[in-house]
């Protein structure tokens, strides 16, 4: 199909490079002119664009007046009116789309700018306030110390030292007090005694009572069943091995009530406020998934916890949560086992079951990672609240900041062995920026949304993984840094971009010098857009890094291709390429790319691809024009046949004819088409094909089922339905919702119905009139059909009746309308 396939020769090059002749078609530079400011360019461009669109629109309108409306009698032929109506409507739509797209793109740029400005503002403010407030406290502290020293007649250093000693003593005293005061609440003791008498059969305990006994408020409502967790002791295998405390959450269902959304968020930081149902609306099923903090003792530390919730919001804003299930691990199971550290026959005391190794008594340290509570408490609490996590983050950040402020953060010489893209995350600047970013996010506290929280977690994980480096820990091993472990793997396996490797755009980021060499070499001067100017792209690269320090060299393959060319890329292999500066990997990669673009064979093959691509485009244009003529002919004949009450076979004017199906597929392929775009069938002896999108839709008997229990319920577009519409690719146009599918919701039951109309590209326009939902279907020829109804039944029945290509069926998500077309792509569930 593509002649160039056979010419895809592998070009192999080793260093040193041969002399390279510059390409013959060196571009001529345009004479310099007065540079214009970007704002001015935009204004001019916008004015020009709007002028041209308006001009084109006016031309289309005038042509329609002459040839369709026969105004002034300039043209009197009415036979072509239907075809011309469609033509002008299509042209007008395309022009409107140009304007809409322009507005959308400008909007995107404006939004992104606003986002950057807001982030800048927040960061600046945070930094400035920190600067000034720190000063205030420092100054005050110093003044108090000075005054005390003067009064005592001693050096200020003495006062500072005494204060430090005092703080240490105080801490020790606090620790001793807390240890001695550590008394297990009565309920837990009762619970443990019952368990000791029924080790293997176990016992249920009420987790709410455990929490109450510890003075922890989980906003759990008292209910008859409490919050039951089953606890039992499982013997080790063999019995002399450590026994396990088994916590079974199968029956752990309870309700919670929070005063408002903010209180809810402290417990359920992973759930977005936007996902909560509206006040007084039916409860919504939500899933809370998180990994418990690694600082928790095993097995809770780092484990994945999944909670199924049913959440509703009362009219007064109170948030009610029904916890339906709690599961741990992957796959999620309702049981979790805690190692008791001794065989079952040695489990004799209350402390043996309440405080296994890693838990408990005497361990209260007052730090954020303390494990003061017993296993039962941990099992109940089992996650730090957002609040506690933020406290921990704050403490960690202070530690990191103090270390970074020492200013002696030095790059290890080993860093120079890494490529820049790995090394740059290990610089003081990068780490400081991450600390600032995390501080900025923490300042926003409870106003952070789920995405913000997740971003904060990501930034903190980044810092935590580099803690040893940040704190200059003595026993810290460079190999533990993610950058070094990645580098180790790259050196072993090589670095791949494109299919099966990193995203190809990463190559541009990692080796911008090489990427620019490619782009600049194949640059078409005078092009108006980057896409047009840089017409050759890198589609894949494999880099192997050999040696170290002064003996570095690389080998590998680049694959380049003319943009839009549909054949295979051209590979260029290289080996033994040394860095041109003697040390950096980047200069070696740039050099390899330079050899690639200067290679005569490569340039010849690129020229071949350009030629083939142009041939393909020309051929496709010719095919499109030919098929448009066929379509017009078909329309004309179909209209005539209809007038006479006869049927018309669209395949009597085929786009392709042949002796067999294979013959047709081959013809389509030769003209750079895709066989799947055509409906191919055997006509009277001969095989014929017509492009599917040009076929008139087939009508099939309507099938409507289900529905029917919702009489009297008015369908309204709810706010969250609109959200779902957005997910479906909704376009808002002039206040109307333009969608390829729609969701409507029954307010009373919360049940949703989903409309999805196929085949695309039919558009649905949805609006509400007098409390009724009206759906208008707009076909590709701009004709419209309205469906309306005040009940789901009525609406769907109306739609199914008129459209005749839709049917309805019920799924868990709701009612789905789909065309009953046996061939061609079926609609997928819009809410899947």
């Amino acid at each position: 199909m593509f002649r160039a396939f056979s010419e895809n020769r592998l070009v192999f090059m080793t260093s040193p490079a041969p002399e390279v002749t510059p390409t013959a078609d060196a571009p001529t530079e345009a004479a310099p002119s007065e540079p214009k400011m970007p704002q001015q360019l935009f204004d001019e461009g916008k004015r020009n664009f709007e002028g041209k669109v308006a001009g084109a629109k006016e031309l289309v309108t005038n042509l329609k007046s002459i040839y369709v409306d026969e105004k002034y009698g300039i043209d009197k032929d009415t036979t072509k009116d239907p075809a011309l109506t469609t033509l002008f409507a299509n042209l007008d739509t395309q022009l409107t789309e140009l304007t809409t797209k322009f507005g959308e793109e400008v909007g995107k740029i404006t939004d992104a700018t606003q986002e950057n400005l807001t982030a800048l503002e927040t960061n600046l403010y945070t930094n400035v306030v920190k600067e000034l407030e720190g000063e205030k406290t420092d100054t005050l502290d110093t003044k108090i110390k000075e005054k005390t020293a003067t009064t005592l007649g001693v050096e200020i250093k003495k006062v500072t030292d005494d204060l430090t000693t005092f703080a240490q003593k105080q801490e020790e005293e606090k620790k001793a007090a807390s240890e001695s005061a550590e008394a297990t609440p009565k309920y837990e003791v009762e619970m443990a005694n019952t368990l000791l008498q029924n080790k293997e059969s176990g016992t249920y305990f009420d987790a709410k009572k455990v929490l109450d006994g510890r003075g922890k408020d989980f906003s759990i409502l008292a209910s008859e069943g409490g919050y039951p967790i089953h606890m039992s002791v499982k013997p080790g295998d063999p019995a002399t091995a450590s026994a396990k405390l088994v916590m079974d959450y199968t029956k752990a269902q309870y309700s919670q009530e929070f005063a408002d959304k903010a209180a809810f968020k402290k417990f359920y930081g992973t759930i977005n406020e936007a996902d909560l149902p509206e006040p007084s609306k039916p409860a919504k099923s939500l899933t809370d998934v998180c990994n418990l903090p690694a600082s928790k003792p095993p097995p809770f530390g780092g484990v994945k916890r999944t909670r199924e919730l049913s959440v509703s919001v009362a009219a007064d804003g109170k948030v009610k949560v029904e916890v339906k299930s709690i599961k741990f691990g992957e796959p999620p199971t309702p049981t979790i086992e805690i190692d008791l550290g001794k065989p079952i026959d040695q489990i004799k005391t209350v402390d043996d079951v309440l405080y296994p190794p890693g838990y408990g008594k005497g361990k209260r340290s007052g730090t954020e990672t303390g494990t003061a509570d017993g296993a039962a408490v941990m099992a109940v609490e089992s996650a730090e609240t957002q609040e506690a996590k933020w406290q921990r983050y704050k403490a960690e950040l202070t530690k990191y900041e103090t270390a970074m402020n020492k200013g002696d953060f030095a790059n290890s010489p080993a860093f120079a062995e890494l490529p820049v893209f790995l090394r740059k995350t290990l610089t003081a600047d990068h780490i400081n920026a991450k600390i600032t970013e995390a501080n900025g996010l923490l300042t926003q506290g409870n106003t952070l949304d789920a995405a913000g929280i997740s971003h904060l977690d990501t930034v903190m994980t980044f810092l935590e993984k580099r803690e040893g480096l940040i704190l200059r820990e003595q026993n810290f091993n460079l190999g533990d840094l993610p950058e070094f472990s990645e580098w180790k793997s790259i050196k072993e396996k090589g670095l791949q971009y494109g299919a099966g490797g990193k995203d190809i755009v990463d190559f541009q980021n990692h080796f911008s010098g090489a990427a620019n060499t490619l782009h600049n070499h194949f640059e078409k001067k005078g092009a108006t857009s980057n896409a047009e100017a840089f017409y050759v792209e890198l589609t894949g690269a494999k880099l192997n890094f050999h040696g170290e320090q002064k003996s570095k060299n690389i080998s590998g393959v680049f694959e380049i291709k003319v943009k839009g060319y549909e054949g295979k890329p051209i590979p260029f292999a290289f080996s033994g390429i040394n860095p041109t500066d003697g040390q950096s990997w980047e200069t070696a990669v740039s050099k390899a790319m330079d050899l690639c673009v200067q290679n005569d064979k490569m340039n010849d093959l690129v020229k071949d691809q350009v030629r083939d691509k142009e041939h393909m485009e020309r051929t496709r244009r010719v095919v499109a024009e030919r098929e448009a003529r066929h379509e017009e002919k078909r329309d004309r004949k179909a209209a005539k046949a209809q007038e006479k009450g006869e049927t018309f076979d669209e395949f009597s004017i085929p786009d392709y004819e042949g002796n067999s199906q294979e013959d047709i597929v081959e013809q389509i392929g030769k003209e750079y088409g895709k066989a799947e775009d055509y409906e191919i069938k055997q006509g009277d002896g001969e095989w014929v094909a017509v492009r599917k999108s040009n076929l008139v839709e087939k009508t099939v008997p309507a099938r409507s089922e289900v529905i029917g229990t919702n009489e009297g319920i008015t369908i309204k577009i709810e706010a969250d339905a609109a959200v779902k519409m957005k997910e479906l690719g909704m376009k808002i146009d002039g206040g109307k919702l333009m969608v390829n599918g729609a969701v409507a919701k029954y307010p009373e039951t919360g049940k949703e119905i989903v409309f999805k109309v196929m085949p695309e590209p039919t558009t649905l326009e949805i609006r509400e009139t007098d409390g009724k939902l009206v759906i208008t279907e707009i076909f590709s020829d701009n004709s419209r059909v309205n469906y309306k109804g005040s009940t789901a039944d009525a609406l769907i029945a109306d739609m199914a009746k008129s459209r005749k290509t839709v049917s309805a069926y019920q799924t868990e998500e709701g009612t789905i309308l789909e065309p009953e077309v046996s061939s061609g792509p079926m609609a997928t569930s819009a809410v899947a």
């Binding site: 042509l63 040839y67 032929d77 740029i109 400035v128």
Partner: protein, 104 residues
């Protein structure tokens, strides 16, 4: 001090509410710290300018791309449309596609 307030007021990279709070805090601070704050905000001002410059460049690029799109439309679908009319209406040959397109 009033100098500090005047300087803060002149910045555009933070909002008015923030400015008021910074001025109030600066009131109780030292000259050295105030100078540091001015330096931070001066840098912020430069960053803001860079963001706006980038936006302007992108907007200009977008305008050019849209202009190209409308030109392509003129040369492509619109030209084809007019040719179609010409083929229908042989009497209007004097109104060639090029003539019409040149008017817009």
């Amino acid at each position: 001090m009033s100098d500090f307030a005047t300087q803060i007021q002149a910045f555009t990279c933070i909002n008015d509410e923030m400015k008021q709070k910074i001025i109030a805090l600066g009131d109780k601070s030292t000259d050295e710290k105030r100078a540091k704050v001015i330096a931070v905000l001066t840098e912020g001002e430069a960053k803001k300018k860079a963001i706006l410059t980038e936006r302007d460049a992108k907007m200009a690029e977008q305008a050019q791309a849209s202009l190209k799109a409308v030109n392509d439309f003129k040369r492509g679908p619109l030209r084809e449309g007019i040719k179609q009319i010409e083929s229908i209406d042989k009497s209007s040959e004097e109104k060639s596609a090029e003539d019409l397109l040149n008017q817009i």
